[in-house]
Symmetry: C2
């Protein structure tokens, strides 16, 4: 097993899915968090000057999705079949787009009340509810997103909605099967431990 | 072999890499192009309401990168080794970000002169040149981006820069090895045919 060092800011952001995959598979890694003060200096030594990067021994892997997919495959969390692996990729991209919209709201809106309004009136009806509608039908006859095997697609959904399921009762009352499913993902042993013990950050 | 139908607009955009991969591997597919007039009606029957989608027999695969990676793997254009496949993913994402910046300039700037100024003063120094600098060192000792095997990473670079290499002499004069490499990708038999015979669209 190579030595892994995940380098990111002290935030969930684009690195959290990778941390979930490491946690689920119980793979040892260094979770290095660069402070805002140290970043301008540290940036100079990061190839491409952007985070996250994953050091795999002395090799540098860039781009959050490439990192997550790589670790997921090492962890056995990617289906063997190419088309099923592609459906996983597609799902992860779709959820990632929802998170990008959320992070854009967080970045551009300082006032908490205004943030909540944008989340309620823009993000949820336009992005989250259509996604939950399709998710609801996908998980009806399955234990996990793809049949009986946990994949990184399940972890991406858990990572995206594990907080929302606790705070947005109205939304999840409309999608009870989605609630049960998200709660089940977040209760996976390695994941539950990670959620309880991870550094607390806002987003 | 399943029956493939790629559905996108009459543009290169997010579908062109998939077309390059099909062309390179000589895989038969239907290249369906939806006109702007037909799109509002057609959108209703597209799951998720966004293009491109790839129909694989009767299954719908969404998200351009998931589609491209799936077809690339079917075509033998993804390295077998997981870490090498991840470096491919990372490269493709990085080039895709450059294309997104380019498309944003094209979308938001109507005047051709102003577009060229933004490309020359923003896109090239901030995104293209740093990428070419790292590409230059990567390809020094290799026939292709990853050793002696053509991968979808090579096709992504060709797809992104095959026009620029013809039109932006000053830029490529600074990176002669990159010019030779891009020209070599664009001269691959299936690719050369595709570039010559594809429907002519602006972007």
């Amino acid at each position: 097993m190579p030595e892994y060092r995940l380098i990111y800011f002290d935030a969930m952001g684009r690195a959290e899915l990778v941390r979930w995959i490491f946690a689920m598979a119980d793979i040892a890694y260094t979770d290095e968090r660069v402070s805002s003060e140290d970043w301008p200096e540290r940036k100079k030594s990061i190839p491409g000057g952007k985070l996250p990067v994953l050091m795999v021994d002395d090799k540098v892997l860039r781009q959050s999705m490439a990192i997550a997919r790589y670790v997921a495959r090492e962890a056995g969390l990617v289906p063997q079949d190419n088309l099923e692996a592609a459906f996983c990729d597609s799902l992860v991209e779709t959820v990632s787009e929802i998170l990008l919209h959320l992070h854009k709201i967080m970045r551009t809106t300082e006032d908490q009340q205004e943030r909540n309004t944008k989340i309620e009136q823009e993000l949820i009806p336009n992005y989250v509810e259509p996604f939950f509608t399709s998710l609801d039908s996908q998980i009806q006859d399955h234990e996990w997103y793809f049949g009986d095997q946990v994949t990184w697609a399940d972890l991406m959904i858990g990572r995206a909605f594990c907080t929302m399921v606790l705070t947005n009762e109205d939304l999840f009352n409309k999608f009870p099967a989605v609630r049960s499913y998200v709660e089940k993902v977040c209760a996976l042993p390695g994941i539950q431990d990670w959620i309880q013990n991870r550094p607390q950050t806002t987003f």
